[in-house]
């Protein structure tokens, strides 16, 4: 049969590549280059002074050291706690399994600032546990574990489900004890998934921003926070640029490692189980292990959410919705600060153009990636994924230093949805491209032999199959836009305050912690609704391919 020869790159595909390419070039590549330029040519002349200062300054060095150190510890603890959970979900069936599994995903979709506020409610001043861990590494580590646990559970669990238990049975029958089997058979088979999940956890902890800003202090801070501080508090754009460049180098190294690990992850396993491997627990030891693991998960995942909601509704005079009422009618109204209610309106208003831009650019890019096979398609795909690896603060900072020329866009409110779209485009691409690729050529051919013209075939076959995936991508873009904080914190003006920025402002003012928690609950609820929409759209795929 061979190649059908029907999938040649057509001219209109190249036309479709133009808007995404221009968008990315102007709002991503150009700002990155400007950051590099600002770092290397601080005052119109080439100078490495900013880089020298960053590398030699003891404060900067300790920030860099702490960034690496906390990311490493966060990764180790997350993997250590994630492995037993992945095992339990992969190998056992028990009542509430899918509920628990969905539960572990909640933290991952929560905006970072909500996570920060939730742990401030649990471990900060006024904690129900009577501790105050704010400004310690413990609060940061626990929040990072909460946030990233789902990565390990999903990433490793998927592979674990595919390992035939007979391999382990064979090792046991050859005389290996349980622990030997785990060390010499299971662990080596899981290695690629563990390493690639660990690389992702490390990346997210390395570029952590919202969590550190809320829970850390001057000594417990990351490069990401330091870039923001240097740029916005001290107006040292040269130092911030040098830091951003260094962080970008680190991110690139982590991403390259992730790429290597996940390619190995894709390697075929020698044996695949023919049937579902998950079974009911048999011994009491198994039941205790499952109960302990689920208890641990419940404690880590549920506690912060419950405490956040509870404390947002607690007042000195008992449970009441005072804090929520204060969001609508702020008691200490100020001319400078936008009321929380207006911030909610702003966020929803920005989300609409963000979704439209992300969906439009993402769909065009997706069509190009699917149609232009070979190197050019892959290259396009990789370049469009870059904003995902780049930290949000770098994107916001880039806007700040670059977008005053040729047209000064920095005062434009459109910059906020554009930044959100930039972060969301990779999600739109990732949710639509696999579906577009799976719309096999065969289905289009089948439509053609049944009398459908190419345009009819696209409308009748591609569009219905892709539209659901596009809706999922759009909801992702919505959730991202509503919760985005890192980039927005650079470009939001008082009049364009969004929900996360408003939470941060409320945290910074004395006496409004309750309102901050109430606002975090509002944000959590909006995100939760979007996440439920995503899950239900994914779940109810008709036809079952």
């Amino acid at each position: 049969m061979g190649d059908s020869g029907a999938m040649k790159t057509r001219p209109w595909v190249l036309l479709l590549a133009v808007p995404p390419a221009l968008f990315l070039a102007y709002f991503f590549i150009y700002p990155l280059i400007t950051i590099l330029y600002t770092g290397l040519v601080p005052n119109g002349r080439f100078a490495t002074s900013a880089f020298t200062e960053v590398v030699t300054d003891p404060t900067m060095r300790s920030v860099a050291w702490f960034t690496l150190w906390q990311a490493f510890l966060s990764t180790v603890i997350t993997v250590a706690l994630g492995l037993p959970a992945a095992y339990v979900f992969a190998r056992y069936r028990f009542p509430g399994r899918s509920l628990f599994r969905a539960l572990t995903l909640i933290p991952f979709v929560l905006p970072t600032l909500v996570v920060g506020v939730a742990f401030l409610a649990v471990l900060g001043p006024g904690s129900p546990f009577g501790v105050d861990l704010r400004g310690t590494i413990w609060a940061i580590l626990i929040a990072h574990v909460f946030y990233n646990l789902a990565i390990v559970i999903r990433g490793v669990g998927v592979l674990w489900e595919q390992i035939d238990p007979h391999i382990e049975d064979a090792a046991r029958s050859l005389g290996a004890g349980r622990w030997r089997v785990f060390r010499e058979v299971t662990l080596p088979l899981l290695r690629p998934a563990i390493l690639s999940s660990a690389a992702l956890v490390f990346l997210f902890s390395f570029t952590s921003f919202g969590v550190i800003l809320v829970l850390g202090d001057l000594h417990h801070t990351t490069l990401e926070v330091e870039i923001w501080r240097q740029a916005t508090a001290f107006l040292r754009l040269d130092l911030a640029s040098a830091l951003a460049v260094l962080q970008l180098v680190g991110v690139t190294v982590i991403l390259l490692m992730y790429g290597r690990f996940s390619r190995r992850n894709a390697a075929e396993l020698p044996l695949r189980p023919s049937a579902e491997v998950a079974r009911r627990p048999r011994t009491s030891g198994e039941r205790v292990f499952i109960a302990a693991t689920l208890g641990m998960l419940g404690l880590i995942v549920v506690t912060p959410i419950v405490v956040l909601i509870a404390r947002s509704m607690s007042t000195p005079t008992g449970p009441a919705l005072t804090h929520y009422a204060n969001l609508i009618n702020p008691p200490r109204a100020s001319a400078v600060f936008v009321s929380p209610l207006d911030a909610i309106g702003n966020s929803l208003r920005f989300a609409i153009p963000a979704v439209i831009i992300a969906a439009g650019i993402g769909l065009m890019a997706g069509v190009v990636i699917v149609s232009a096979k070979g190197h050019s398609g892959r290259l396009f795909d990789t370049v469009l994924m870059l904003p995902l690896g780049t930290s949000a603060v770098t994107i916001g900072f880039g806007f700040l230093v670059a977008l005053d020329q040729p047209v000064d866009l920095r005062a434009s409110a459109m910059l906020i949805p554009i930044a959100h779209a930039l972060v969301a485009i990779p999600f739109v691409i990732r949710s639509t491209v696999p579906v577009m690729e799976s719309v096999q050529l065969r289905l289009r051919e089948a439509a053609a032999v049944l009398g459908a013209s190419p345009r009819q075939a696209w409308r009748e076959v591609d569009l219905p199959l892709v539209s659901r995936a596009l809706a999922v991508g759009g909801l992702f873009a919505f959730a991202i836009s509503i919760g985005e904080f890192g980039a927005t914190s650079f470009i939001a003006r008082p009049a364009t305050t969004t929900i996360p920025v408003s939470i941060f402002r409320l945290l910074g003012r004395p006496g409004t912690f309750g309102e901050a928690m109430a606002m975090a609950v509002v944000l959590m609820a909006i995100t939760g609704i979007a996440a439920m929409g995503i899950e239900s759209m994914r779940g109810s795929r008709s036809g079952g391919v």
């Binding site: 053609a448 032999v449 049944l450």
Partner: protein
């Protein structure tokens, strides 16, 4: 009537079809059979319009269809993997071609019910295609192909994905359906039994050329060359020297092989040749007997009585019924 003449298609310089010629008569079932890589699927796709020929012509009733795009040829193609639309139910799949023809909803519903009845799936219209069994998918794909009354039905290994017992059952059913709707059919397969069961004529393709085109009986009794004889699985292929040992003289010095039809071998106590009985199995009605000639060669024949393996058997060969080939 479909006429394919001197059809050539190259993929990256390598010819998949190399001057293939084929004529399919109206209301006949024509099977195109060949080993994998012989170009049979490419030929089918080219006729459907999914591949562009480098040279040659495809004509329907004397008119070339090469410049007609796929969706206007009016040829139905059923894919080996069925290519059912996952986002439409059974009725939605079957109705697709009718909607493309612009039929009104009432006419579409009538035709869908009619075709689903025809393939034995009445009342299955609102089933999701994801819930169908392999055999049901095959029937839906067939119904979808037949619904718009295509002037030519092209089938690409339509039973390839099914298990054996289901295949035999569906094959007979399909033949009945095609006869009932008087379809003109070109059917691609690599399976000889399938081909011989359903075909009015069988074309054999090898290396991108049609090397034989005959009725199943004609092909079986008079294959054009040794390759075809071997490919369709004829028994008792013997080298010329072996036949000389048996006292049969090849017609010319260039003759390399001869095929002795099993019924040209008569086992009797007075036979002039002797061989050891290697096996004797009752196959209903008669015994299939294998005669060991030594040096790794054997002959197969039929005997009304069973023979004891290991004993000697005597037989005669009717040399006039041997087919001779130069390859």
């Amino acid at each position: 009537m479909l006429e394919v003449s001197r059809l050539t298609i190259r993929f990256d310089g390598t010819p998949a079809l190399d001057g293939a010629e084929l004529t399919v008569e109206d209301r006949s079932i024509h099977v195109l059979m060949g080993p994998s890589g012989s170009g049979k699927s490419t030929m089918l796709r080219a006729i459907a319009g999914l591949e562009n020929p480098d040279s040659g012509d495809i004509a329907w009733n004397g008119m070339s269809v090469l410049s007609t795009p796929v969706h206007k040829r009016g040829f139905g193609l059923m894919f080996q993997d069925y290519a059912l639309f996952p986002h439409r139910d059974v009725a939605g799949n079957v109705a697709f071609g009718l909607r493309m023809q612009g039929l009104n909803p009432v006419a579409i519903r009538e035709r869908v019910d009619e075709v689903l009845d025809l393939v034995g799936l009445p009342g299955h219209g609102d089933r999701s295609v994801g819930t169908l069994s392999g055999g049901e998918r095959q029937r839906v794909a067939l119904a979808r192909t037949l619904a718009p009354h295509p002037r030519l039905v092209l089938l690409d290994e339509p039973l390839g994905a099914l298990d054996r017992s289901l295949r035999e059952h569906l094959l007979i059913e399909m033949r009945a359906i095609f006869n009932q709707v008087e379809a003109t059919v070109l059917y691609v397969t690599h399976d000889r039994e399938e081909a011989f069961t359903i075909a009015d004529r069988v074309a054999i393709i090898n290396g991108g050329r049609i090397v034989a085109d005959d009725t199943p009986e004609g092909l079986w009794h008079q294959p054009p060359d040794g390759w075809t004889a071997r490919f369709i699985g004829l028994e008792n292929l013997c080298t010329a020297s072996k036949l000389r040992d048996l006292g049969v003289q090849p017609p010319s010095v260039t003759t390399a092989t001869g095929v002795i039809p099993p019924e040209a071998i008569a086992v009797s106590p007075t036979g002039s040749h002797t061989a050891v009985v290697a096996g004797s199995h009752f196959r209903g009605g008669a015994y299939r007997v294998e005669l060991d000639l030594g040096a790794d060669s054997a002959l197969v024949t039929w005997s009304p009585i069973g023979l004891e393996p290991g004993t000697a058997a005597h037989f005669d060969i009717d040399a006039t019924r041997i087919s001779w080939f130069e390859d």
